[in-house]
């Protein structure tokens, strides 16, 4: 990742669309998912209802879904920037997990919606998160390609595996304490990278 826009995460929305997505997000942050309407988003963005429908023909549902997708993509763009200066692949993954876990915990709007409107939020959020699997794998691919992979392990499936682990852990850490750098290092070493290091080539001896 070299600049603020990631080709991996798809083309950024047009300025007009971007403004509407930001406006919708502001409305959702203020009053939740249940009450959001096309009118409210249009008012917040200072445009007409017709303009909203021109950009989002599906109306309210499309607007909300794309806003969730926009925020999820934004979340992972920030994450990519946060880990860009790390040296080794293991460092990248450790930083990513520590950073993402903290960002989810500190995300006021997300936490509010998870507490009050999980049924409305989670279908869109799960869908958008899964759509990010390929771009996250693409982002990870150069790191995986730099690894001395064991025979039989190929770059693309391995990058996809790592992306799935990261996405799953960010959503639900389970038994891992993702605020503890030592635990995160152990997690990366034992579960995420164990299969991506050729034998006798352990860059991180226990």
């Amino acid at each position: 990742m070299t600049d603020g826009t990631s080709p991996a995460l798809g083309a950024p929305p047009s300025p007009a669309k971007h403004r509407l997505l930001e406006a919708t997000y502001a409305c959702i942050a203020r009053s939740g998912l249940a009450r959001i309407t096309v009118e409210e988003a249009a008012r917040e963005a200072g445009v007409s209802r017709a303009t909203v429908y021109r950009h989002f023909p599906g109306g309210r549902d499309e607007l909300v879904r794309e806003t969730v997708g926009h925020e999820v993509a934004h979340f992972f763009l920030e994450l990519a920037e946060a880990v860009a200066s790390s040296d080794s692949f293991a460092d990248v993954l450790e930083e990513a997990l520590l950073h993402a876990h903290a960002a989810v915990a500190d995300h006021e709007v997300l936490q509010k919606l998870l507490a009050t409107e999980p049924d409305r939020l989670l279908p869109d959020l799960a869908l958008e998160a899964n759509r990010l699997l390929p771009p996250i794998a693409t982002f990870l691919t150069p790191y995986v390609a730099d690894q001395d992979l064991p025979p039989g392990v190929e770059v693309e499936p391995a990058a996809e595996y790592v992306a799935r682990m990261v996405l799953s852990l960010v959503g639900a850490p389970g038994r891992w304490d993702l605020t503890d750098r030592g635990e995160v290092a152990e997690l990366v070493r034992s579960e995420i990278l164990a299969g991506l290091v050729a034998e006798g080539d352990d860059a991180h001896p226990a």
């Binding site: 998870l114 989670l122 279908p123 699997l133 064991p150 039989g152 499936p157 391995a158 799935r164 682990m165």
Partner: protein, 215 residues
């Protein structure tokens, strides 16, 4: 829906009686056909060929109680079937391949679950995302840990159970172009590539190395 509270592989001590069984099976058919919102208690009674009164006698809370009972029943059935299969495995690789393949086949082949994921995701996804998924991970790892402990030791068994559960959900909810988790051969390649290298250096029982050493 009911909270998942499985803690071991044993089926619930008091399973459903014959009438309850019929109602639960009928309700599952209705869910696979119409989903949660459109299924009525009358539909369930008709499908089970019993009266509304009979359904209410078996499930006094009505539709919601039937739905909760389905979740408990399906999970305990799955736990029992999985446990049986895992008992028959005699090395770590087989245990992982058998468990992952069976769990994935059960999830993707479950008609009611798949209908809901496609048409009423709000009925399912909140139960398997974020904080609730931590609960799923804990329940599922508790279920498989006694089996895993035979090969990786008790300390690592719960952690490994979680790891595997994560992957089953990830690779079945968003299928991969590379690994079909319902295919035992694909799963075996996956297990050898990504799971065994993280487990074999610490196993308490000998297991085949995932990659032949060149030295």
């Amino acid at each position: 829906m009911a909270t998942i509270t499985m803690s071991d592989g044993a089926p619930a001590p008091a399973g459903p009686d014959a009438v309850e069984r019929r109602v639960l099976d009928a309700a599952l058919c209705c869910l696979a056909r119409w989903g949660v919102a459109k299924t009525t208690l009358d539909d369930i009674a008709r499908e089970a060929r019993v009266s509304r009164a009979t359904v209410y006698r078996a499930f006094p809370g009505g539709k919601d109680t039937v739905l909760d009972a389905i979740v408990v029943d399906e999970l305990s059935r799955f736990a029992g079937d999985l446990g049986e299969r895992l008992l028959g495995t005699d090395d770590l690789e087989d245990l992982l391949v058998t468990g992952i393949t069976f769990a994935s086949q059960t999830l993707t082949g479950h008609e009611a679950l798949q209908y809901l994921l496609a048409h009423e995701p709000e009925q399912v996804l909140p139960h398997i995302s974020f904080g609730r998924f931590d609960g799923v991970l804990a329940a599922a790892s508790g279920l498989v840990a006694p089996h895993l402990a035979r090969f990786v030791g008790e300390e690592l068994a719960l952690r490994t159970g979680e790891w595997v559960t994560r992957l089953v959900f990830s690779y079945t909810m968003a299928p991969s172009p590379t690994y079909d988790f319902t295919d035992a051969d694909d799963v075996r390649r996956f297990v050898r590539s990504y799971l065994l290298p993280g487990l074999t250096d610490r196993t308490t029982a000998p297991a085949a190395p995932p990659h032949p050493r060149n030295d």
